[in-house]
Symmetry: C2
Subunit: 335 residues, 2 copies
Amino acid sequence: MKISSIGEFGFINRIAPPFLQDLPEDVAGIGDDCAVIPWRENESLLITTDMLIENIHFIRKKISPFDLGYKSLAVNLSDIAAMGGTPESAFLSLGIPDNIDIEWLDEFYAGLNELAKQEQVYLLGGDTTKSPAHLVINITVTGKAESQFIKYRSTAKRGDIICTTGLTGDSGGGLKSLIEDKPLNDEVIYLIRQHNRPRAHISEGVWLSRQAGVNAMMDISDGIDSDLRRIMERSHCGAEINIDNLPISQQLRTASDRFNWNADEIAITGGEDYCLLVTVNPEQYNIISKKFEEDFNRKLQGIGFITNDETELRYFKNGKLIVIQGHGFDHFNNH
Amino acid sequence: MKISSIGEFGFINRIAPPFLQDLPEDVAGIGDDCAVIPWRENESLLITTDMLIENIHFIRKKISPFDLGYKSLAVNLSDIAAMGGTPESAFLSLGIPDNIDIEWLDEFYAGLNELAKQEQVYLLGGDTTKSPAHLVINITVTGKAESQFIKYRSTAKRGDIICTTGLTGDSGGGLKSLIEDKPLNDEVIYLIRQHNRPRAHISEGVWLSRQAGVNAMMDISDGIDSDLRRIMERSHCGAEINIDNLPISQQLRTASDRFNWNADEIAITGGEDYCLLVTVNPEQYNIISKKFEEDFNRKLQGIGFITNDETELRYFKNGKLIVIQGHGFDHFNNH
């Protein structure tokens, strides 16, 4: 049987059970953005790992080595942000094919180091090996969080307002620009930059994790549709998204008009925005979103609601139920 | 410039300096078997990561998926053992090509789980993605150790006796048997099993780390020659190996006679034995090796000495200086 017949998440659900048995108390294993391990009193260690492979996650001639180093670390920092943690250390394994030279790698490490310094993350180890054909990047990041404030995917509540901490679809628009080889005007340059140099929402994650009204949190890596289904699955709930409320940049709208793209679908299924998807108690939403705007100078954008209808994810536009094509990124089904 | 022109370790020395600056106190980064991060009082967290790529580290049709899962975890546990730690959790990233099916992966996970259960290691997370051509396995393992007992590569002392905690060359003989497609007699089956199902010397590592006379420790992954050079480089010393003292199994000797192999060279350069390479204060060697033999029912085999001659690694056989062909495993130079 091929993995494509059950998908990445079907496969994870198949292999995870033996590894979820008999876990020590307070340890959270497979199933969230990070594993959680008790550290000192009141504090937990967070650990996450991500593998990026050439021609699956990136096309080498479409991203500079500096940006690729930066982004490889950023996507892992985003997983720490998604639990409300602060990243601390990183471990990098590289599988290097013959057609990559040292100068290219110097730039890759410079990009990674730029973000590492910015976020005070220490690269403490790794592995370097030859690869027969494709560049392989695996990064593991550790972080810390106050145990009481850690946010999970599994704690969304019926009635919660679903919010994002940033614009959705820009990274997907950047990827489309690269794949379709769009001419580099201002919008396209902006979108490609969002795709190649994503920002992990670390300070937003720490801030939100400390608000009692924030119930569940994860980062948008595979796209709102795919990622929200993870929250639904883990929290045993459904969701409704109001497409009119999606925070879509003017640049993505302009590019979509010009290239005949569907900006809504890109925002929902594009993925790699690496902002946070948050569910907030509706009674506390107004206060939290007002304080968020004061601190971060932008909206904590409400885009929908958590519902009772388990496994049902519905989209509305102009008050009408609509059907979305595609369901976000699944490595084994979409390629 | 190609990496092959400076080798894996030349490359690591090139990229490491910016990441070794400004490390927090008591943190050990790039350069040893594991990174060391202060944990609770008197305790440290150890972290290591290893990437295994098809056709570089293993040939898929030459190892069962069960053994490959087992071995992938074992090589990481061995890095924790090398510092004197006890492994606790593991994180597995898999890049899976189209020609691997779910049943194969079930067996891979079963093998990994067998060793994980045996050593009470919890698989707490990972990443699963598609790979365009080759199977890629990256495992990160965390462990714990009492900070005062952690052993490093950098603390070998002149005059130390160099020891191994197990037989050397069996794994290399197994690899040669596989590559040369030797008929499966008892010796060959034994050697292949040592290659495909290595045992991490965890209890030996913990035990040795608590002996005051043990100065430096690492695991034999690339081969005595290559690994001892890492200790020499980090401890600013030289070494002499007495080849007559190498612990070589009867099976490897028999196979070497039959196939016209050089058992000494396999023991020195073959790699992947995953026993420990230890340097011991000569004044305490007799007591430590006697106690080791009582506890582990085999010798802590002395194979040579740490010398003053920085960067000089000399081999003696029957009292005569000899030259060894090959220098152990370097992914970028030997393939």
